[in-house]
Amino acid sequence: MKFLEKMMQIDRRWIYLAIFLAVIIPAIIPFTVPMSVSPEVKKIYDFVEGLGPNDYLFVAMDYDPSSLAELNPMAEAILKHAFLNDRKVVIVTLSQFGPGMVEEITTRLAGEYNRIRGEDYVFLGYRPYPAITIMLMGTDFRVPFPQDYYGVPLDSLPMMRGIKNFNNVKGVIDLTAGNTADMWITYGNARYNFPLAIGITGVMAADYYQYLQSGQIFGIIPGVKGAAEYERLIDKPGQGMQQASYQVVAHSVIILFIILSNVAYFATRGQKSKLGGAR
């Protein structure tokens, strides 16, 4: 019983150490994890797969380094999918530290898949105030973005000739860790009625199923598991699937912690009520 009481008061640094060791194990002894695909991720895959040769995909990478772990894998998977199928992509970021990350991903993948900037993909850049930027893009991309991120006027980019606003793109996929998803739903989809899907972190994932059911979004990629599912669908294992084994061990450890703490709680509570009854 004293052991259980001690367990209830354990220094949190022992818990930190346990978690640290838990995520070290798969780094030393890697293993694969079976992966099932959820319907909300499949819908996004089917959408990108169904794009025609003249269709444009709009990807908003509205995240910064703090959520890179979950959103970079899905960004890579979607861009790989679009580039593999030879589809044109317009990319924007509404996050202040997004441009550096977008630049790295697009340049690397463009090199891997022989895509040419300005002809196969365009990176518009960054603007603050997401709601205003989304609404201005709905009128004309050139209003908030007269030039792309590299300072090239949009009209001189071959890919941007003939496309004006969201009416000319097949759909929008927003990858975000903040409230930008709400902005795209409220100020983008509600005003301009374009098909919208979102890729979000695990923390936010449970909060957007009502928009999926109402049809305001057509798909959700929920966190790193969703990214792993997308990688499985395009058959290109990446950072998402790489994380799966770590998630298994870490989740197992946390579940054990919760069970242990509840066992200790109920055992000591029972003991305390016996002592209280005896008095």
Binding site: P30, Y126, A131, N189
Partner: protein, 210 residues
């Protein structure tokens, strides 16, 4: 790995470990990394704002395109800098009022449409039939109603309303439990990515495969 990759990524690993050291206790290495990132982030954003926002959206329109109508919002934007003066900070209210008024006006119809009307319509759109889909529709209607009643504090939660409110809090607890379960995945992912990065650096440095 090249020498500059070894050095740069080595610096990244060092700074990662500086932040992790906070788990033991606050220390100078953590403070150093924290302040460094604040300075780097501010400097990065300053140049991003200048080159990719101010120059194309403000400067080019005035200096190259000669669209002098944009002098008015430029002037309003510069008025914001009066906030640093105790005597003249009230002038910045004009710029703030412009921004607040426009944002508020546009948000009313869109927030109500996207957040209320579409959600109401979706709740009652699907028919309540004697099959699985119908059962789910019924559960959704009851769940939404119960949760809304729970948040309605203008009437006492007694009788039928009290019962519905009780059901509402159970539904909300399921929602929060789902949120917590997914949050654990999200937080672990952040840690795992750093471990994978450190592992990748060590294996590259030592020339170990994988």
């Amino acid at each position: 790995m090249t020498i500059d990759q070894i050095l740069l990524q080595g610096a990244a690993v060092f700074l990662t470990l500086c932040i992790f050291s906070f788990l033991y206790k606050d220390n100078p290495f953590y403070k150093f990394a924290e302040r460094l990132v604040a300075g780097i982030a501010t400097g990065y954003w300053t140049m991003l704002l200048f080159h990719t926002n101010f120059v194309p959206v403000v400067w080019n329109r005035l200096a190259h395109d000669h669209r002098f109508i944009y002098l008015i919002p430029t002037f309003l934007g510069l008025l914001m800098w009066t906030r640093f003066s105790k005597n003249w900070s009230w002038i910045s209210r004009y710029s703030i009022a412009f921004y607040i008024g426009i944002s508020s006006g546009i948000s009313i119809p869109l927030a109500l449409y996207a957040g209320l009307f579409r959600q109401l319509e979706a709740t009652i759109r699907f028919p309540v039939t004697l099959d699985a889909a119908g059962l789910y529709s019924f559960l959704i209607i009851v769940g939404v109603l119960a949760a809304l009643v729970y948040f309605f504090f203008s009437a006492a939660h007694k009788g039928a309303m009290g019962g519905l409110s009780r059901l509402g809090i159970y539904v909300i607890m399921i929602g929060f439990g789902a949120g917590f379960g997914l949050t654990v995945m999200g937080r672990i992912a952040l840690l795992v990515q750093r471990i994978i990065f450190i592992r990748g650096y060590i294996t590259s440095l030592l020339g170990i495969g994988g």
